[in-house]
């Protein structure tokens, strides 16, 4: 635009003070250094790279974000009341601008064998508990934004469930962004390890106070042991001016079950990368997604599911509603390794276009190297069917209400997969509000 854009994202790391989290831990410093080297190697990916073919990084780069790790302490519970979901009976963890904030959190009683804490605190008290966890799922070689997160590692949510532990209530992470004087990037690193036979529900919510400009670059490393079960609801409601990046790394042992429901509503620019690695047979991974994009909004999902072992099941069900000049990208890839016989994989991406000016680039891919598998993929891009609209109008419903009802019907499959009524209501309300103000051309 003006030629002053920095040449790399390295500047995101410049404002970190020397007393950063976990300073003095050699193994951690080594990983940070390695990550920084990778950030330098990556530079700024160009549109020639497949992963960034449809999504430009220019706008993101131009903001000149810096990682500031000042703790925001002035907030009180009253200030965030509108963001809470009182009906959701949860163990609540609130992070403000990437920092765990105990004064707003309400962990309550945790059952035996369950540890829920901040990454920063745990690095100070019991760093050995994290040595195998940090990069444990994401690996040492990381894509640009994960490497940035590792290089700037500061705080995040840590959930550790011992073998057989069962959490009845969900853990709810509220990641709150508050505008600062300068454009700021928060890089939370969340680590969730569900050991053999353990069961938990995790809700992640990304919210903001006001319409401020900021960036969230989060990385989650999730590992499920044998027979472990994790239900994971993620709701992204960032500010309309925000940039949001998520890298989710999931590793599943034998017979484990994961269900992740990704709701992407907010942000001006949002990119989500989901990686699933099956480590043991008969594991199931169910990924669902709903995204909305309107004027000045780009939302981009990359899904990479790797069936490295036999007899695992994966489902990827993503739905998008685009309106105004909204843009979305869906790039889904399922790879079935040569020995991964009896793989059952089905990927689908359906898009509802409410305007002619909206745009979707969708690319589901299957790469199958085994011969005894059940795999499918499908994409649809369509408009609201006139006969459906007429049916509703003939029953006395106005065209805008009828249109909204059909959109909610389209989105329902994904919203229904959320684990609690309170979340379904919250998301339905949010989707409804966005559609209400959506331009129809």
């Amino acid at each position: 635009m003006n030629g002053t854009a920095p040449a790399s994202f390295e500047t995101w790391l410049t404002a970190r003070p020397d007393d950063r989290t976990g300073a003095g831990l050699d193994w951690l410093e080594a990983r940070r250094r390695s990550a920084l080297d990778q950030v330098r190697e990556h530079g700024v990916p160009s549109a020639k790279q497949e992963a960034w073919r449809y999504t430009s990084l220019k706008r993101l780069l131009e903001q000149g974000f810096a990682q500031v790790d000042d703790t925001v302490t002035a907030l009180r519970l009253d200030d965030i009341e509108e963001l809470l979901i009182p009906e959701l009976d949860s163990h609540r963890v609130v992070m403000v601008n990437g920092r765990y904030t105990p004064s707003l959190s309400a962990l309550g009683d945790l059952p035996h064998g369950v540890r829920v804490t901040g990454l920063r605190a745990l690095l100070a008290n019991d760093p050995d508990a994290l040595r195998e966890r940090i990069n444990g799922v994401a690996g040492e070689r990381q894509p640009l934004f994960a490497a940035l997160n590792t290089a700037g590692l500061d705080d995040g949510l840590v959930v550790l469930l011992d073998r057989g532990a069962v959490l009845e209530r969900p853990i709810e992470l509220i990641h709150l962004s508050v505008g600062m004087d300068e454009p700021r990037v928060a890089q939370p690193r969340h680590l969730v390890a569900i050991e053999a036979g353990a069961q938990a529900t995790l809700v992640e919510r990304y919210v903001s106070l006001g319409a401020s400009l900021y960036c969230t670059n989060s990385v989650l490393e999730l590992s499920l042991g044998r027979d472990a079960v994790l239900k994971h609801d993620r709701i992204q409601e960032e500010s309309p001016n925000a940039f949001h990046i998520t890298g989710l790394y999931l590793s599943q042992e034998e017979n484990s079950r994961y269900q992740g429901t990704n709701i992407g509503l907010g942000g001006a620019w949002a990119r989500t990368d989901l990686f699933t690695r099956f480590q043991g047979e008969h594991a199931e991974c169910d990924l669902l997604g709903l995204y909305l994009a309107g004027d000045r909004q780009l939302t981009d999902y990359h899904i990479d599911v790797h069936h490295a072992v036999p007899s695992c099941t994966s489902r990827e069900t993503f739905k998008g509603i685009l309106y105004g000049k909204g843009r979305a990208v869906f790039d889904g890839r399922v790879v079935v390794a040569k020995n991964a016989q009896k793989t059952d994989a089905a990927m689908s991406n359906k898009n509802l276009m409410l305007s002619e000016n909206a745009e979707i680039d969708t690319k589901p891919q299957l790469e199958i190297n085994a011969d005894d598998v059940k795999c499918s993929h499908g994409t649809t891009v369509g408009q609201i069917q006139p006969e459906m609209l007429f049916y509703l109008r003939s029953r006395g419903l106005s065209a805008p209400i009828a249109r909204r009802m059909l959109c909610m019907g389209f989105a329902g499959e994904v919203i229904d997969a959320l684990h609690a009524d309170a979340l379904r209501e919250r998301v339905s309300e949010q989707v409804g509000q966005r559609l209400e103000s959506a331009p129809l051309t």
Binding site: F390, Y391, S394, R395, G396, L397, A399, L406, G409
Partner: protein
């Protein structure tokens, strides 16, 4: 109540209705019969405001108001109801939610209060019984995965709920076996009242054994070529449409 005068309507380049006249008074049940392609469904669609039809001449007034100037939802709010020949499946749209929104929209336009959840459920259960419908239907998506009979019963159920002044039943008998037909007809008959008029569009006389009309009209090539009492339907059944079409040509 309804007055159709000289109505002409096109679909694309083709003129389907070619000067149709019809008068329906309060509480009357009119059957419109005719061979395939005569314009029966076009009439039902034009009256309910479906897109894709161009009215080129004539007028339709409903309770003194120009019906053709109204949006489909305004027609519904003023008491017009179309029972679809092919009810549309709306995957993901919850039936209860839909019914409540429709009922409250219609009630609001009648100047009535919106129903609260309890009164709504009470009302809905009462109406379900009339149509022999199971209340599991309320949890399902509108028409999605319904059998043909369920779809048609759901149409009449909606009619019972919305209590229209004028109901147009478009080939409601098509695709129904005799038992389902009887249930649907009983539902319709239960809704007959001195204030509620009906237009029953059908190809076969069969439905009229169960829903007895006050007037029968024969529609052919876009016009009503013959009107009479219920005995006309029986005559048609016996002699076929060829008879009346031929007679019209000779005249």
């Amino acid at each position: 109540m309804l007055s159709v005068k000289g109505l002409r309507a096109n679909v694309g380049e083709n003129e389907i209705l070619k000067g149709l006249d019809l008068e329906v008074g309060p509480g009357e049940v009119h059957a419109i019969m005719g061979p395939n392609g005569s314009g029966k469904s076009t009439l039902a669609h034009v009256l309910s405001g479906r897109e894709g039809y161009e009215v080129t001449a004539g007028s339709v007034t409903f309770e003194g108001q120009d019906l053709l100037a109204l949006e489909p939802e305004e027609r519904a709010q003023r008491g017009l109801f179309l029972a679809f020949q092919y009810p549309v499946e709306l995957p993901g749209v919850n039936n209860t939610y839909f019914l409540k929104a429709a009922l409250n929209s219609v009630r609001k336009s009648r100047g009535e209060d919106e129903l609260d959840a309890v009164s709504f459920l009470r009302l809905i259960k009462e109406k379900l019984k009339i149509l022999h419908l199971d209340d599991s239907l309320l949890k399902r998506s509108v028409n999605a995965g319904f059998s043909g009979g369920e779809k048609k019963r759901n149409e009449i159920f909606q009619m019972a709920l919305l209590e229209p002044k004028l109901a147009i039943l478009d080939e409601t008998d098509s695709g129904l076996d005799i038992d389902a037909l009887r249930v649907v007809a009983d539902g319709v008959n239960a809704l007959r009242s001195p204030e509620r008029s009906m237009i029953v569009v059908t190809h076969y006389q069969r439905l009229l054994d169960y829903i007895e009309p006050d007037h029968v009209h024969v529609l052919a090539k876009g016009r009503i070529i013959r009107s009479g009492g219920k005995e006309l339907a029986l005559e048609l059944e016996e002699k076929g449409y060829g008879w009346v079409v031929e007679e019209e040509r000779a005249a």
